[in-house]
Structures are given as C-alpha cells and as structure tokens.
C-alpha cells in the first residue's frame, strides 16, 4: 500500500517488481496509467500543469486507498500522481492494484481512479502553443462514474 505525489516520472515495471517481489499469493495485477493528451477538444495543447493541495492530497489518496482495501481483497496497491508542468505524452498518474483474482484487481483500480478524479485535490491547467492557458473544467461524467460505487 502506498501513495506518492511527485514531480518525477515513474516506471511501471519497477513499481510492479517492488509490489510483487518475493510474493506468490498474487495472481492478478492491474495498472492504470493516465497520460497527457496533445489536444483538448480540437485545440493543440503545449503543456499541462498540475497544481495540488499539499497535505490534503496525500490524505485523500490514502483514505481512498484504504477504502478500496476494505471493499476488495487486495494483496497490494499503489497510487502515484505527478505534479508540475508536463508535456503531451507524459505520464500523469499510475494506479496499481494486485489481488489473488482478476475481478477484484480490475474493480479496485477503476474505483481508485473514479474517486481520485473526483475527490483528490488536483487541478489541471492546459496551455496552448499561442501562450494562452485555461483551467480544465470538471467533467460531469467523472462525478457520474462515482455513483456505481455507492454502497
């Protein structure tokens, strides 16, 4: 279990190796990687800047991770979210869930992403090649995605 907020990139193979090292109880590992797209609507994006709320971000991610561990039989999980200025194609977020069975790993990873997107205090600002920039609006679909996890 772990939560990291960092400017640095991450390496999935290395993170997976750290999670599975010496363990033979894991049968299924799901990873989700979010990356910066080069367009927003039909406009080109030159950079994306991620702002966050230090302290609260880590607390929210840890709370969401703990809830996933309560709801699914997870062997391990990891959330890494990058901050700062990122180029198109760059990694933004990595979620890893490991379990004995695949459906638990898949569901927990989706749950973590749905909650992360609507609860963790991160904000994206997209800059265009002409120097203008806008804050990304929250999407209704991300809020709607949460509803299926209601207990």
């Amino acid at each position: 279990m772990g939560v990291r907020v960092q400017a640095e990139d991450f390496d999935i193979s290395a993170e997976m190796a750290a999670i599975t090292a010496g363990r033979t109880d894991i049968g299924a590992i799901v990873t989700f990687t979010g990356t910066v797209r080069g367009t927003a609507g039909d406009e080109a994006i030159s950079t994306m800047t991620l702002e966050h709320y230090p302290g609260m971000t880590e607390a929210e991610l840890a709370r969401v991770e703990a809830e996933a561990a309560e709801r699914w039989p997870l062997s391990a999980s990891l959330i890494i979210h990058r901050i700062g200025e990122l180029k198109p194609g760059a990694n933004i977020v990595l979620v890893i869930t490991a379990s004995a069975h695949r459906h638990a790993a898949f569901e927990a990873a989706e749950f973590l992403m749905d909650y992360l997107k609507s609860q963790a205090p991160f904000w994206k600002k997209e800059a265009r090649p002409d120097g203008t920039a806008d804050w990304v609006d929250a999407r209704e679909t991300d809020t709607a995605a949460l509803k299926r996890w209601a207990k």
Binding site: Y53, M56, K117, Q119, P121, K124, K125
Partner: protein
C-alpha cells in the same frame, strides 16, 4: 459593498484567526495563495464565510461569483457550504478537482 458586519467594530473576544488557502482559478482570481484572516464571531458556516469574503473586494467577489461551483475543505477535509467552521485552523477554497 461594505456590509453591516464589517462596519460594526468587533471586540477581540469575538474574533478568530484562521488560515485561508486558495487553489487553481480561485487562487488566481483572489490574487494570493493563502492569507491569515480574523473572522468575526458571527461567521458560523462556510456559506457565511464566503459572503464575508465576497464583501472584501472585487477580487474576492470575482473569485466567489459562482459560489455553487466552489469546493471547500476545512482542515484538509472536504466540507459542505453549511458546515460549521468553529475550531477550524485552515479553510481552503478551490474549483471542482480535475486530477487523474
């Protein structure tokens, strides 16, 4: 622009000191990332605090113009606009989150 609550002079006993933090476009519109504010005792809820802030100047008025979309955290925990702020050390205002 000046409200009755600001016009009336509070006593020291009525005031509390709280750190206010702003993020993303709320921060840009207010013009600062954080500040320490002395709040009159009559401010009981998040909604009261937003009303009080909006009266402090055009920058605040612009930042909180659409109060319905502003999200709030009291001591780093998500809170509703009707949440009581008694005992809070840090209150943050920000747009809906867009990470991930």
């Amino acid at each position: 622009m000046t409200t009755l609550s600001q016009a009336s002079k509070p006593t020291d006993a009525d005031e509390r000191t709280v750190t206010l933090r702003y993020f993303a476009w709320v921060r840009e519109k207010v013009g600062t990332a954080d500040e320490v504010a002395s709040l009159p005792a009559k401010i009981e809820t998040v909604a009261d605090l937003i009303d009080w802030l909006k009266a402090r100047g055009e920058n605040y008025e612009a930042a909180f113009a659409r109060a319905d979309v502003i999200r709030v955290a009291i001591d780093q925990t998500h809170a509703r606009s009707d949440a009581k702020i008694a005992g809070a050390a840090e209150i943050a205002f920000f747009p809906p989150v867009t990470g991930g």
